[in-house]
Amino acid sequence: METLSTLADGFAIALTWQNLALALLGCFLGTIMGALPGLGPSNGVAILIPLAFTMGLGPTPALILLTSVYYGAMYGGRISSILLNIPGDEPAMMTCLDGYPMAQKGLAGQALAISGIASFVGSFLATWGLVLLAPQLVKIALLFGPAEYFALFALAFMTLGGVSSTNQAKSAFAAALGLALAMIGVDTQTGVPRFTFGEVHLYDGLDFLVAIVGLFALSEVFIFLENRHGGADGDSTKLKVGRLTPPLSMVRETTPTMLRSSFLGFLAGVLPGAGASLGSFISYSMEKRLVDKKGTFGKGDPRGVAAPEAGNNAAAGGALVPMLALGVPGSGTTAVLLAVLLSLNITPGPLLFSQNPDVVWGLIAALFIANFMLLAMNIPMVGLFTRVLMVPPRILMPVVAMVSFVGIYGISGSSFDLLVMIGFGVLGWVLRKFDVPLVPIILGTLLGNTMENNLRRAIAIDNGDWFTLIDSPLAISLWAVAIFGFVLPLIVGRRLKSSMRKKPHEEGSTKD
């Protein structure tokens, strides 16, 4: 009951004209970004962060804008999956499997509508999940001391690689690289400069926003330059939408699928390192196993459209749980959102719920509102977004690059930061060629200093005894989960990821 009353307070915060307008703007931009191949949720949110800052938004409005973009991108990804058979972003790739066949049968409008409804159900239920689960997680997190936090961060890094990479060594490499980058700058505890090589610009450390925009947005530009598929098809003949109202029987038929997939997707989102791509993947696989008696999946079965869409939208909501309650994001986009919070001087985690309840509950309320806006945008107004798909990457990508530059320059006003961003762009391109996941790098640069501080604090409390790290049952269990999460994918992960890889035809964009 207490939760419900705080939620009501949240609605009071969210229901201002400014916040409603921001949610609407975010939903609109997010849907476009999700729909455009090459712009996914994480780079979409990344290039909009500077915008949020320059508008001088407070924490709650900024978060409302950016999470609306996040939810919107999850909705939008399906549009190009269904119409063009090109996933707009990685989580939407499973939607191609049945969405495109439906479009070929002339049922594009119905596929869009049913997937829109599924997206709504998924994110609506997941937002409720967030409301109910996050406060419980906070209660556990309040028991954490520095040693437990250190273990928790280790857990996040060790499990993050699990699904997002085929090679655990590479995700460990990525995490270490991110942490290594975070160490640059003046040490907060002793005041000595580290890894600055005498460069004054580095004394404050690397701005992680620079790293994020470079790694996610600029590297995408390089990928397009490399393949020069700047002319991806904006063939208008394919974009016939047709009737937008699904028959009632179709809705009835897909309802159980949506409910099951939402649940699974939410779970996948809450688990660290899984994220929306896995959410849509397991939802689809399970539905296929469960209800595909006549073998219609893959040939344009509406349930095959509903399952991954409910799954990935639910996972998007689920991924917010650990980010808000523990300060440990479970996916790329939530890592980017964490960067936003940190830049606004807000530390997510259990204290966020007691110190800034307005931020948390205002955000959650805004998510409910955004969801209804998205439903309205994505079914009756979907035609608007299909037109956006006609913008070819050769025009889109220069705009993306320039917006990235402008945003970073707008924050710091220094050419040096732009050069660092270009460096990260190249690094991101190289690492993507090597199949090194980028999310652990981001997470490393974000959490590196906090992780180190917790380590040092834990050991200082115990007068230099390193065994304090594995002293409490809570810490030991966190370490156990971490090790389990690191080792398990070595056994089963390869198989899962390779079967995920087999299905899409197109190189996916940045992982969410």
């Binding site: 002793t190 025009i395 530059f405």
Partner: protein, 143 residues
């Protein structure tokens, strides 16, 4: 093969990082752990994972042909020039050129590229500077 080189580079990076960590001056006010310990742990993880990558390489990625690499390199040079020249020649001019270049290299026709360049730069200027009040680089002409 690519992965072996990658792993070796990573290992060298780890060694370099460890060396740089050893160079960190300890303050006399240091806490028990000090500023070196965590970087050294990171260097260890970096080194071990690099060695594993080198010893158990994945299949090589498809590297683009030389002319595509040159394309990326040229784009990087243009971006660096952009970053350096931005405060000198102002936002609108620099951005128009950079965006036009990228559009052209991504396969737009020359006329289209020019339009994309001007459109992007004026559009961003209008939205970010005039509407949102973000301060952009001012050139000699005030924009």
């Amino acid at each position: 093969m690519s992965d072996r080189i990658f792993g070796l580079v990573g290992a060298l990076l780890a060694i370099g990082y460890a060396f740089a960590a050893m160079q960190i001056e300890e303050s006399f006010l240091s806490d028990v752990v000090g500023p070196k310990a965590f970087p050294l742990i990171i260097a260890t993880v970096l080194g071990i994972s690099s060695l594993i990558i080198a010893l158990r390489p994945d299949a090589s990625p498809v590297w683009p042909p030389l002319n595509r690499l040159a394309e990326i390199f040229a784009a990087v040079v243009v971006m660096i020039l952009y970053a350096e020249l931005l405060p000198e020649i102002g936002f609108i001019i620099a951005t128009a050129f950079a965006a036009a270049y990228l559009a052209w290299r991504l396969g737009s026709s020359v006329l289209e590229s020019v339009l994309v360049g001007i459109g992007t730069s004026v559009g961003i200027y209008a939205i970010f500077h005039l509407v949102l009040g973000l301060s952009l680089a001012r050139g000699p002409f005030g924009f």
